[in-house]
């Protein structure tokens, strides 16, 4: 399976993966999380584990089970780690621990390397075996509710290492802390190459005209993605360039304000036939792929963001992306080189006009963006890094390792 990425991923990444796979031949690599479907973690595990298995490593994936109360508690823990004020009582922490303990009967935790994803199964480390145990934190923990973070840290410190997505999420801990950014799969339905006919079919079906330049933002309808700001920027541009705006996404179902934001957006654009609000059902990956390919300018004008992988998705399609300078977006967009970082509605409008007026500039930036994603944000880089962390933990104390 890894051979499918030849000609796409950097050669050195593929070579290192194969060399590490030879070192880890027939050894076991276990991943544990709390859901088999839904969410970015499950999505990437589904793509990644078969590749690791095909390399001769015994990759497994276990999922912990929990009752409704458990998931209510872990949702609160998740929110608290992201900075939402929440209080986790002693009884709640106890239930969190007990559910994990009760899972032991159903789980096989015996492996040479164990990667525990996010806080739901974090207490499993209390029952760890001899292998290398790594905690993988996918959440933005740069500004957590301190008592919640402190409680979880007691578990974290029992691992051999922890992996964060962004350097500024890391905190002072007594264990090794690695930084591994999220990734996209260039062969998935959301990112694979599409023919012109496939793109046209989607645009026709979604009712988006292609006779004028398309400005696109793909995101949930929540205030942090600033859809109203995007529309205001589009209106400023419209005075100079005849263009179409597409806002594609789904309402934020876990956000009580989601419906209100969508209503606001609809009301704000009711009289403009060139604004297309597309509510896409789950698994609309091919439609999103086609929209990104048909767009002339892609926006991710977030006011607050986790990593913002939609930026890498659009860059992979050769698009110059204009993004808010928040969260992980500045790690993807190098301002002025492969896209633009903006801080205001006016700045967004200006950069859109700049790209619409200079197709050569848009093309050059788009090409650089695709290359930047190829080197830094593909699934093969993530596999390379996971195996490298495992190898580094088996060769502690060395900062230069021969493989």
């Amino acid at each position: 399976m890894i051979s499918q990425y030849r000609g796409i991923s950097p050669k050195a990444d593929l070579i290192l993966i194969q060399r590490l796979a030879e070192k880890f031949h027939d050894r076991s690599f276990l991943h544990v999380n709390s859901t088999k479907a839904g969410g970015g973690v499950a999505e990437i595990l589904q793509r990644m584990l078969p590749i690791i298995e095909s390399l001769g490593i015994a990759a497994r994936w276990e999922v912990i089970q929990g009752d409704e109360r458990f998931f209510e508690i872990t949702k609160k823990i998740h929110n608290a780690l992201q900075g939402t004020p929440e209080r986790i009582t002693k009884q709640m922490w106890q239930h969190h621990f007990e559910v994990n303990k009760n899972n032991l009967a159903k789980l096989n935790l015996d492996a040479d390397a164990v990667l525990i994803h996010d806080p739901q199964p974090a207490p499993l480390v209390e029952f760890r075996g001899d292998g290398v145990w790594i905690s993988r934190c996918h959440i933005d923990v740069s500004n957590p509710v301190e008592p919640v973070y402190r409680h979880l840290s007691r578990y974290f410190e029992k691992y051999d290492a922890i992996i964060f997505s962004v350097a500024r999420f890391a905190r002072a801990l007594s264990i090794d802390e690695f930084i591994i950014t999220p990734c996209i799969d260039p062969l998935s339905e959301k990112n694979r190459e599409l023919t012109d006919e496939e793109v046209s079919e989607v645009m026709e079906r979604l009712g988006v005209p292609t006779d004028r330049p398309i400005i696109l933002q793909v995101s949930r309808f929540d205030r942090f993605k600033d859809p109203v700001g995007v529309i205001e920027a589009y209106r400023m541009v419209k005075k100079y360039d005849d263009c179409i705006l597409v806002l594609a996404g789904s309402p934020a179902t876990d956000d009580p304000e989601g419906e209100a934001v969508l209503d606001e957006v609809r009301e704000f654009t009711a009289d403009d036939l060139d604004v297309h609000i597309l509510l896409l059902p789950p698994f609309s990956d091919r439609d999103i792929n086609a929209l990104q390919r048909a767009a002339h300018v892609v926006l991710q004008k977030s006011l607050k963001e986790g990593f913002g992988l939609t930026v890498a998705e659009a860059m992979w399609k050769g698009k110059a992306v204009i993004g808010g300078a928040v969260g992980g977006i500045p790690l993807q967009i190098l301002h002025g080189a492969n896209g633009f970082l903006v801080h205001s509605i006016e700045g967004t409008a200006f950069r859109i006009r700049q790209l619409l007026s200079n197709p050569d500039l848009a093309k050059t930036m788009g090409d650089k963006g695709r290359e930047y994603v190829r080197v830094n944000f593909l699934i093969t880089r993530q596999i390379r890094d996971y195996l490298s962390v495992w190898y580094a933990l088996e060769h502690r104390g060395q900062s230069m390792l021969n493989v």
Partner: protein, 224 residues
Amino acid sequence: MNTQTVQSFDFRACISVLKSTGKKARNLRELRDIISVVSEDCLFHHTYQYFLKGHVLEYTSDFAHWAGESLEERALAERLANIDPYDLGSIDAVRRALVKVIDDYLLHFPEPREALAGDEFYFNETVSLVFPVGVRVKNLAEFLAAIKYVDAASIYYHFFEARMRLGSGKDDFSSWMDETLGKTELALKVRSIDPFMHSLEDIRRHVADAVEKVVRKEMEVFTP
């Protein structure tokens, strides 16, 4: 390097995985204090490995980058950017140079601004994995084909990382050209490429150009 025959050059590559030290600086004083105590691996990453990241080369280290972009202390950024780790030769010397520049600056501007929340300087280090990439060349013509083909990770290992590894300010390419092929003039030409002023792709191009000139000259049996 030369594993099979005396003359062969085995290309290797170096890939680094990022580690956090858990330390961060909110202002210049904190930056200075942490620079004076962090690990050599950490300083190595923020100075020597700056060239791995494919930045537009406005700065030459993460420290200069942060001073310029996050603190908006342009004069300080320029002074920090002028510290050449390859010229200084050791990480300890780099540490002393960084601290001296910051101390001098603080003497004249004792109250520089704080970075915005989330824009602090995060001290990282790396674990580097070195491995052969399966490309072995025996002469300059093969080298020319290979240098255009290998990943940037190989250029980094042989041109940048080698300077610290060999401890002589020399790179693997020019050492092989000189010591194995006896091409001293070409070796000097390659060695004169300033690592401080070029991206990895620029280095690739400059090395390839220099080698191509020699290969062309050597294959011409008749000069009109």
